[in-house]
């Protein structure tokens, strides 16, 4: 059984109601679905959570390597000559998503911090709407560099091996709050707490631990909106 189906089965069992997990391409579509109540909850990036925090409520935050934190990476092709983010000036750059923290915001904030104008630093940019696609675009040579979620890159490297990704990291962002599980403000508190308990309880059950292991995560915790203040600050500067 696939990971999503096993996770949905676990949540269905824990919540006592039918739960479906649906993959989405692009954070904008996720936000729209939440606002239209087509979705009750979502595992979302910290940046769109900050942007829509008035209409979203924090449910749980994953722990990765024991911390609710992750980084954004800038990657280049493994055999490319570039060693620093500055080397990509004028090149072709792939962003993950305009609403992604690690796949967009952190790079623009980093460039601004270096004194560059983010919109003019690269010769050409495009969005792949998925972190995995950023890695493919850079590995195939479609882009000279790309912004990718550090958690996604590290997990894929563990799955495919160091050479399997055909990319290497030339820049890392500061540590920021890990993408949280949020729910729409219209969702009842009981459901929010129920979902929170189910997610936190994963580390206490065998099925939940197997799912966490497949996700390369340690556990879920209740989380704190304050963990995302660094993203909030970056959004104010470079968003």
């Amino acid at each position: 059984m696939g990971l999503l189906r096993r996770w949905a089965a676990y949540l269905t069992d824990a919540l006592g109601r039918d739960v479906r997990l649906v993959p989405f391409a692009g954070y904008q579509r996720v936000l729209e679905a939440l606002e239209r109540s087509e979705l009750e909850a979502a595992w979302l990036c910290g940046y769109p959570y900050i942007l829509r925090r008035a209409r979203l409520r924090l449910v749980a935050v994953p722990l990765w390597h024991g911390q609710p934190l992750y980084q954004g990476y800038v990657i280049v092709r493994e055999d490319s000559p570039w060693q620093d983010l500055r080397d990509l000036r004028g090149g072709i750059f792939a962003y993950a998503d305009p609403l992604s923290n690690s796949g967009y915001l952190v790079v623009r904030h980093g460039l601004a911090g270096m004194g560059f104008e983010p919109d003019r630093f690269f010769g050409r940019t495009f969005f792949t709407h998925a972190h995995r696609h950023v890695i493919d675009a850079v590995a195939d040579g479609l882009a000279d560099g790309g912004a990718v979620d550090g958690y996604v890159w590290e997990v894929l490297r563990e799955m495919r091996g160091a050479r399997g990704l055909r990319t290497r990291v030339i820049w890392r962002s500061d540590w920021h709050g890990f993408p949280p599980v949020v729910c729409s403000a219209s969702v009842s508190e009981a459901l929010r707490l129920g979902l929170q308990r189910a997610l936190i309880g994963m580390s206490a059950s065998e099925a939940g631990q197997r799912i966490l292991s497949d996700l390369y995560l340690d556990a879920f915790v209740a989380g704190d909106p304050g963990w995302y203040r660094s993203i909030e600050r970056m959004a104010g500067v470079a968003g």
Partner: protein
Amino acid sequence: MAVVAARPWATLRWLIPLAMLGVALAGGAVVVAVTFAVLEQTLRGNAEQESSRLVHTLSLALVEPVLRRDVWQVYQLVRAASTASPDASGEVVVIDEDDRVLAASQPLRLPVGSHVSALPRDWQALVRAAQVGQSPRTSTTTADRASPALITAAAIRSEEGTVIGVVLAAHALGLSARQQMLLLQQLGLIGVATLLIVALGRRLVQPIGSLRDSMARVEAEGLSARGADHADVPDVLLQRRDEVGDLARAYVAMLRQIGHQRLLERQVLEAERLARVGQIAATLAHEVNNPIGGLLAALDNRRLRGGIDAQSERTLDVIERGLRHIAQTVSAVLNEARAGHHALQADDLRDLRVLLEPFAQRSGITLDWRVIRPAAELPAVPVRQVLLNLSINAIHAAGFGGKVALWSQETDTAWRVSVANSGQALSAADFDALVGGRQWQTDVRVGLGLWVSARLVADIGGQLRWVAQAPWATVIEVVFPLVPIARAGG
């Protein structure tokens, strides 16, 4: 047997495998040529169809991504299109309305944002043609490519019909690596089949070569010296049930027949030589004995007249002993000639019996001898020789513990002697063949003895006859005419 100069390359053992090899190679070459021709035609036809269909489909699918300038989505589409077929080594390029590459299936070769001028010239021409509504167009080019390719271009039009980009698809006309590998495997199979055919050809011709070697050895060593020997023809050839086996058996039969004829010729020559010696001996007997007889008669006459003193008497005795010694010596040396002329006596038959009895005893044969000399005169030598030959044959045929009997019967015109034996029978047909010299058995002596006997009997006007008479296995009757025909000479 004629000797032909050896030409190893012209022998069947090489010509047949070479011919089979030639057929195999020619067949393989035809197969390869046809395969290439069909493949070329198929590849070109496929390339035209695939390219046209591909650019048409892409020109429709790319409208939205091109309008949005969505590099990644365009790339996903062209990458999927270029790797759709395992044999398609094609390349797809999408040009935007600014004449720049929006995405290419090989981005390292044609990076995003490259100007159309970076493309090969014939590609640029196709882009221009497509932009002015002449799409799709095709062109074959080898520019910047390792193998010929078919290039097809199509305009990407918005819903309003405006040209918002151009999609180019290159389809390789040459063989893909997979197809080349398949072709090489087929050629390898043809090569292996060729080697197998050559080996098969060699194996098929090997028996003929072996027979040819046997013939060559016989030819080199001389047929007359070998006689009926066929040991050089391998048994495996003689046991074959095909045409080569028939040929080998016929060859061995021919060798035997020729060997028999050679032996017969030698026997005839020997007989003729002995006849000459006999003639000379008879002449000597006549020319030496007659004068000696005269001289001895003269000595007797002189003694009868008397008046010989003792000294002369001793001299005459010396002369007489010398003459008688000469006569005895001539008689001893020329006994054959002298014997040929005397008539058959009872002593001749007794001598013959005395000669045969020890031989029969050694062979464990019971010999029943009831031969009585005829009243009329018969030449002793041929009679003795014929009876000796037939008796020895009969003793051989009877085998150990068998019986052999000889009995005679005299009429007014002939003296018939029957030689009978138990044991091995001789058929009438074999008897006729042996006497006629047409067929001799493996035991050449038996056949030869019969044939010589028949000739000796024929010389004096008689004949050999095969008679069926129980309980004997074989009875040969010799008919000696009682008015013998004198042989020429002496």
